[in-house]
Symmetry: C2
Amino acid sequence: MFGEVREDFTIDQLDSDIVKLLQKDGRLSYTELAEILNTTASTIRNRVQRLTENNFIKVVGVVNPFMTGMPTVAFLGLKIDFHRYDAIVESLEAIPEVRFIAGSSGGYDLFTQVITSTNMNLYKIIREQIGQIDGILSIDTNMLFDIHKQTYDWGAGQGATKE
Amino acid sequence: MFGEVREDFTIDQLDSDIVKLLQKDGRLSYTELAEILNTTASTIRNRVQRLTENNFIKVVGVVNPFMTGMPTVAFLGLKIDFHRYDAIVESLEAIPEVRFIAGSSGGYDLFTQVITSTNMNLYKIIREQIGQIDGILSIDTNMLFDIHKQTYDWGAGQGATKE
């Protein structure tokens, strides 16, 4: 989902405050945000529009897969031939059930998350899709069974805020 | 963030359609949702309220940490003494920088994600906080460097929808 944030894109204190509130509750209305931050709804609307259009924040509905009929969740750690990094990422991106892809270092070169409805679907995705991508050297599958914590309200660090 | 969804909580087709739209864009207004789904804004408002109050969906603003001054992101795979599972999860939950905790099987017993502003902060969190929790037997740290894909629109599976 993340597009690039332009390097010259900066936010001020009001933007940062809006981001922090939306990280906790993305359904807050422009009017509610304006009241909390002591400004006008139209100012808030413009700020939110600028933040989302510039890929700084994306407001989405997050559903707990285990509670909602998508109980097969796996983290796959991949080791790859780095010559084919871009092509591998592109192939993985095209698989809808692959919900998360990140470049990594440590035990794995790429970290991916797969969410689907059955273990058989996961097996097919690994065997017939991910496993067929040239340059993937190994796949370690970690099944997830329960999510104890998942939060998004980490704010925006110093580097992002410029007055 | 996820609270428990009651076992007898069910959704119908309209709920499922609302969830799918919010998974893509959580800022859609009640009026916009009503127009797309050919119903009234007050119906949509009641449905969204029921879905969120029952922990079925949480609408949040998601920020790409690498673009916003929080560039130290790590997946930590933990091996633990299962006798202390609940106490370990409780201790991890109390650390704000630990953004994600899931019970797992495969290479690791618990999967956690840490997001913070510097590598030194990560080191301190591992050494002074996570590493001090009784019953954690090993910590494998995988640094993330870039997020290539992150989507949330996996819908809700068959098990969740009952007409």
